[in-house]
Point group: C2
Chain length 396, copies 2
């Protein structure tokens, strides 16, 4: 397929991938001039009782500290990470960073730890409040060097130029998108994935799958992002069941390759209406991405279908491993198969499983907010708040 | 295919791609703090009468200067680039850079201009002579920011961590390979490709094809590089004929996407025996890569076949657009089709067309030198100097 295009940009961090690759963390920090690393992780102190990853308990934070120590690098530890990271903790973290005269920012954890670290990097170098930077390209000054070690295979924050922070007062997840948010180095060590729960394996893979699908049909998808999207979809369909059932390191490794591919794609191609709505719902009800996607994704794909039938057919072909008679048939069969795939795991498939009946009144303001989310800009079909509301009703 | 692997690294520059994207050159330099750009290009002064690209004549250097001027950026122009760039010109350029207190290094041109710029960057920041850095990972100190604008679609120097400089005294092309040689930004503007000659279009595409094939079978190929290699092979086979015949911008654009994909692959996966020998031959006889590859590539593929039959079959499948009965059949048919592909263009297919009979005596020392080329380290099958010599005799 020949794609004619305007100027497109493709930026990713340096990636260090492999079993045991966490051992390079100290050298990576040194390469960026580290004297005192600002180390961000979750689950140190149980803020808000959220501690999904258990990264500290599994010993990875200590392992990382030992690695830094061996390289003669000092560090300061900031463990105040929550899922759906809060604006005020980011601002508090930045103060802590500045007060301690730290340099390289290192995060070990999932999307929440890494997004917290990114938020801290923004405030520490640009000042102000995190909400000042909501939207695309609003961060002006360069950020401190960032070296990230992902412990999930889904959020893609270790690869992407995205940072999602919850504005607590407005109860909304803000999308902050700018090229300088691409970390300097992403270390992906599949050995760390072995300590993940079944639930987290599924949620991370579902997150990567949503990234892959939305980026593939994005208005600004490019020849650099589209093959990455399809590769991620393929790897997730072929490996998630085995990863959940057997925890085999091979299949976990393939899922983390899928997540990297999906992240390269969405970071540079953007996302769509499904993520816009997921951010808005997540901000209001504190539901994580991995939980929302199986509920919304197929419905948003059907909504978009008329605007990108050929690309939805490409997705269908990868999911089904064959093409049917027409693009429309292939696309629709792919979406149906996707729903069956989600149903085969123990996840919520209706919005009413995650949101109380009494809270249904909030759906309208949520949908109005989703329209303005930066992700909605790249959706292949314009989506109004009424469209969002009818999607919510369809999946209720 | 599941690939078990040791730690693998993947580093590429930020890529800005698209028709007219040269207009971002000034902003890119500013983002890296440019006050006085060191601008490297070929064909300004006809050193050694080599002036393949005619980039200056086509007005691109002036266009770039206008862009810098519009952004209020000063520059100093260094036009002393030759094909197969010479060590002493790199060292002279570094002196010129330091004397003029330049900052961002910008190259506009093909592989020679960009490799000259990289060599200057090394010496300007690390001192010494360029031969001190021959081999892998010998450059210690960080380099000045580099923003490159490629005018060919082949060398990949705008994407890669490779720099090839000719040691004039030893008459050898030195491979200098280190992560810091990945430029900060690569601007790829397909409009520039329209000014290329037919010969240069073919040579560049052949260079990219050799990168793609050797990186795919490399010992350190990874899941991040292998899909890029295959994509490049596919795009070159489907677009080179049309690009040569019609000069259509669409097909030239596809070739430059192929070159980027191939470069992402070889920069991170390395190359093999064919490039080792091409460097050694090129250093002795001043033959460019694009001329040597059609002569050597198929012979080296047959030499390697027993060590990587499955991967050669993947290459064959892409070339033929189908699989035959066995991996071996697919691989061999792919190599034969590759030879036919080369033959369909007006290029030399035998070494005797490029090297005088009287110079045959130099083949033994050339082959002895090829064994020590850094590219030979990642070849799937160990190659001795006798192996190289028998390849040279086979293609004589």
């Amino acid at each position: 397929m020949v794609i004619k295009m305007e100027t497109t940009k493709f930026a990713i961090p340096e990636i260090i991938f492999g079993r045991g690759s966490i051992r390079y963390a100290g050298q990576c920090a040194l390469r960026h001039g580290a004297k005192k690393v600002f180390l961000v992780s979750d689950s140190g102190i149980k803020v808000f009782l959220v501690s999904d990853s258990g990264i500290e308990e599994a010993g990875w934070v200590q392992r990382l500290m030992d690695i830094l120590k061996a390289e003669g690098i000092d560090w300061i530890y900031y463990p105040r990470v929550t899922s759906n990271p809060r604006d005020f903790l980011v601002e508090e973290g930045a103060e802590f960073y500045l007060k301690n005269r730290a340099d390289v920012i290192m995060a070990i954890g999932g999307g929440s730890a890494m997004d917290t670290a990114k938020g801290i990097a923004i405030i520490a170098s640009n000042g102000g409040k995190i909400r000042d930077y909501e939207g695309a390209n609003r961060v002006q000054r360069p950020l401190p060097p960032m070296v990230f070690i992902t412990t999930t295979a889904g959020s893609g924050s270790d690869i992407s130029q995205f940072c999602i922070i919850t504005d607590v007062k407005r109860a909304v997840k803000m999308s902050i998108i700018t090229r300088t948010l691409v970390p300097n180095i992403s270390i992906v060590d599949p050995l760390i994935l072995r300590t993940k729960s079944e639930k987290l394996i599924i949620q991370s893979a579902v997150d990567a799958l949503a990234h892959a699908i939305e980026s593939y049909v994005s208005r600004i998808a490019s020849p650099f992002t589209m093959p990455q999207s399809l590769k991620a979809i393929d790897l997730i369909f072929r490996n998630l069941r085995q990863a959940v059932d057997s925890r085999s390191l091979d299949s976990l490794e393939q899922l983390s390759i899928a997540s990297i591919a999906a992240s390269m794609a969405f970071s540079n191609a953007g996302l769509g209406a499904e993520h816009a709505l997921a951010h808005s719902l997540g901000g209001q009800f504190d539901i994580t991405h991995g939980v929302v996607h199986p509920i919304l994704l197929a419905a948003v794909m059907r909504f978009n279908l008329s605007s990108c039938t050929d690309r939805m057919a490409d997705i269908g072909r990868v999911i089904l491993n064959k093409r049917l008679g027409s693009d429309m048939d292939t696309a629709l069969a792919g979406i149906t198969r996707l729903e069956e795939f989600f149903a085969s795991f123990n996840v919520s498939l209706r919005l009413s499983q995650e949101v109380e009946e009494v809270d249904k009144q909030f759906l309208e303001p949520i949908c109005r907010m989703a329209v303005n989310d930066a992700c909605n800009l790249t959706n292949p079909r314009p989506a109004s708040w009424e469209d969002f509301l009818s999607i919510c009703e369809e999946v209720w």
